[in-house]
């Protein structure tokens, strides 16, 4: 059965839980997107931009040093989304959605951002395609990510700090939704992950699937067979969905999503929605959420700013229930360690988000069968994190002294 179904559900998860003001627009978007999905010209334009402008295809790199460090039992490949323009996989989606916004005649684009990666990618696509861009960002994140705020402004975007609620990503999404409800006529909301009301989870998945499509062709060419494991970090879940999706029908390919265990799964300071959350409704979708007994949404925590979201894409919720993908969790310290290990062994500084996927492999490589081929989605580069990591390591050193 095709997922999502006509009502935007991946089995039990998904849907469109939004104020009535937005419903007619979601129907329009769904209608337009249905046509666009079959419009070869649209995809050609998108692919050309990704190739000429953004640098696709990204390499599938055989990480020999890391493989050897892990006893040489495995072959580890890294899908180098960190080499994409703006330094993460986010641009695959924003170029797609901003192109779509243009086709729909919208003149203004809004987006939410946590750490700033999606904000930068949206501002970039808007600069390229000539649309006005407004980015909502939690006030706390604006403070923590001053450099990305400046980047967005350089790219011509307006950045609106959000002081409501926890002043982080989930509140930025709330505020973007409120803006959208108010300016629905001329505005397109570019959602940054496989979350939100239908058709967003499907649309973002489609745009990000380019990662998995390339990976599949590259590994077949290189190894003559499919990988045994595909590992990706999961916050909202767009890079994971992008690399998983083209492998879903290959039952022998194990799909592993790695959530952020933060200070530990029992600590209440984590972002492990699929591991510790329960079904509920937020940001237009029914999915697993971090929430209390009453149904109030809890704040999420992770060392990786791109993972601290208390919800998760509905298709991941579906894959979890189905057992098709497995969702594990890795804590802050392990991610930090993996960040250093990959930097030292391969000369690649990964984003702290992607370091969670690396850390999972480092923790579990001994239990994988010999000769396994493992692909890790290296969803972003770590330049954005070096200042934070420097502080954390200095703190740690001070503690040991």
């Amino acid at each position: 059965m095709a997922m999502p179904n006509r009502c935007g559900y991946f089995d039990k998860y998904g849907g469109r839980y939004v104020p009535e003001t937005l419903m007619p627009l979601l129907f329009e978007l769904e209608h337009v997107y249905k046509k666009i999905r079959k419009d070869k010209k649209f995809w050609k334009e998108w692919r050309e931009l990704l190739r000429e402008y953004a640098g696709r295809p990204t390499p599938l790199y055989y990480a020999r040093n890391l493989s050897e460090k892990l006893n040489g039992h495995l072959k580890v490949y890294l899908k180098r989304e960190d080499l994409l323009h703006t330094g993460a996989h986010k641009l695959n989606n924003t170029i797609g959605q901003v192109l779509l916004a243009k086709k729909m005649g919208k003149t203004r684009v809004i987006a939410e951002t946590g750490a700033g990666q999606h904000g930068v990618a949206t501002a970039t696509a808007c600069a390229l395609l000539g649309l006005k861009c407004v980015i909502y960002m939690g006030a706390k994140d604006v403070e923590r990510q001053a450099l990305n705020v400046f980047r967005m402004k350089l790219l011509g975007a307006e950045v609106c700090p959000v002081t409501a609620g926890t002043q982080t990503l989930k509140d930025a999404i709330n505020e973007a939704l409120r803006d959208w409800v108010t300016n629905v006529k001329n505005t397109f909301y570019v959602i940054g992950s496989v979350v939100g009301p239908h058709p967003y989870p499907q649309m973002v998945r489609d745009f990000q699937s380019i990662i998995g499509i390339e990976t599949r062709a590259q590994i077949l060419k290189r190894e003559g067979r499919l990988p045994d494991y595909v590992i990706a970090c999961v916050g909202g879940g767009s890079n994971a969905m992008g690399i998983f999706y083209p492998f879903i029908k290959d039952p022998h390919v194990h799909l592993i999503g790695v959530e952020a265990a933060g200070l530990g799964l029992s600590s209440d300071q984590h972002s492990a929605t699929l591991n510790r959350g329960e079904p509920g409704v937020l940001h237009g979708m029914l999915t697993y959420l971090l929430q209390d007994k009453v149904g109030q949404i809890k704040g999420a925590h992770s060392i990786a700013p791109g993972l601290d979201y208390p919800g998760v894409g509905p298709e991941h919720a579906y894959l979890k229930d189905l057992g098709r993908a497995k969702y594990e969790a890795v804590d802050d310290q392990s991610a930090l360690q993996a960040f250093q290990i990959l930097s030292e062994t391969e000369g690649i500084i990964p984003a702290l988000e992607s370091a969670h996927a690396i850390a999972y492999l480092i923790q579990n490589f001994h239990s994988l069968p010999k000769e396994s081929i493992v692909v890790i989605n290296l969803s972003g580069r770590g330049d954005k994190d070096v200042a934070q990591v420097k502080d954390l390591l200095e703190e740690k050193r001070a503690e040991t002294i």
Partner: protein
């Protein structure tokens, strides 16, 4: 009598008698449970046609800054839905004739359990629900649980809703149909959209439910202007602002403001 039919009957009665029909909104537990009970009493004494009592949610996407802040204040009490229904129950003991509807976001009811929410709401003598993030497309499970139970499920329609869709939503809506006056979120506004009365006139001819208008309404002029074109108006943020300013002693000020809105209190 209670529930959908009672709400409807009472709104029509006010209309017939030429009384100004206002549905005041406040958020329960803002700033605490005792204050809410006191506010409800003062509001009830201003003869509202019904009352909308919010249960706070951490992520209220349909609400503007005023009600967002109220919900933050309310959430400091860590309220449960059971305690909310206690407020309803206590209020109904003193004012059984005033319909009380719950406004909250779907996750609260989903988490509490649809059947359990309905059962306990009936026991507490609540008259209905307004769930702003539950469009008709997602409402089947809730409506199925509700069937034959008599409680109102009040749906919202917006300026962006096409007329054929509006008629469909009106058929599902019980108690009344809630027309969102503007394209946007809740909050007091200086002026209402220019074409509002024209739109209301048109809608009135298409539906059989009482038509209630909300969002932005905060002045006696608004109430007077809309009166010929709808059956009642919801006033929320303007009242919540009074609570924000006056805190737990806001009761008398809420009462005075409601009379002022109806132009029945010369000293305001």
């Amino acid at each position: 009598m209670r529930g959908a039919i009672y709400i409807e009957t009472r709104i029509r009665e006010y209309k017939k008698k030429g009384k100004k029909a206002i549905i005041p909104y406040i958020t329960a537990f803002d700033p605490n449970k005792e204050a809410t009970l006191d506010f409800l009493k003062h509001i009830a004494e201003a003869d509202p046609v019904a009352i909308e009592l919010g249960f706070p949610f951490s992520d209220p996407v349909a609400d503007g800054p005023t009600i967002q802040k109220a919900m933050v204040r309310a959430l400091r009490n860590k309220p449960s839905f059971e305690e909310y229904l206690e407020i309803v129950s206590l209020f109904k003991e003193n004012f059984p004739e005033i319909p009380l509807v719950c406004m909250t976001y779907y996750n609260i009811i989903f988490r509490f359990g649809l059947e359990r929410a309905l059962k306990e709401a009936i026991e507490a003598r609540l008259d209905g629900f307004i769930i702003p993030d539950l469009p008709i497309e997602e409402a089947s499970p809730w409506l199925r649980v509700n069937r034959g139970k008599g409680l109102a499920t009040i749906f919202l329609v917006a300026p962006t809703t096409p007329y054929d869709r509006l008629v469909k939503i009106a058929k599902h809506s019980t108690g009344f149909l809630y027309y969102v006056s503007l394209t946007g979120i809740t909050g007091a506004r200086e002026v209402l959209p220019e074409d509002l009365t024209l739109k209301l006139q048109k809608i009135k001819g298409m539906i059989s439910n009482p038509l209630v208008v909300g969002f932005g309404i905060s002045k006696p002029e608004h109430v007077a202007l809309l009166r010929p074109y709808c059956d009642a108006v919801v006033v929320g943020s303007a009242l919540v602002q009074i609570i924000e300013k006056e805190g737990r002693s806001a009761g008398p000020a809420l009462h005075r403001f409601l009379l002022y809105l109806k132009n029945e209190d010369s000293q305001s």
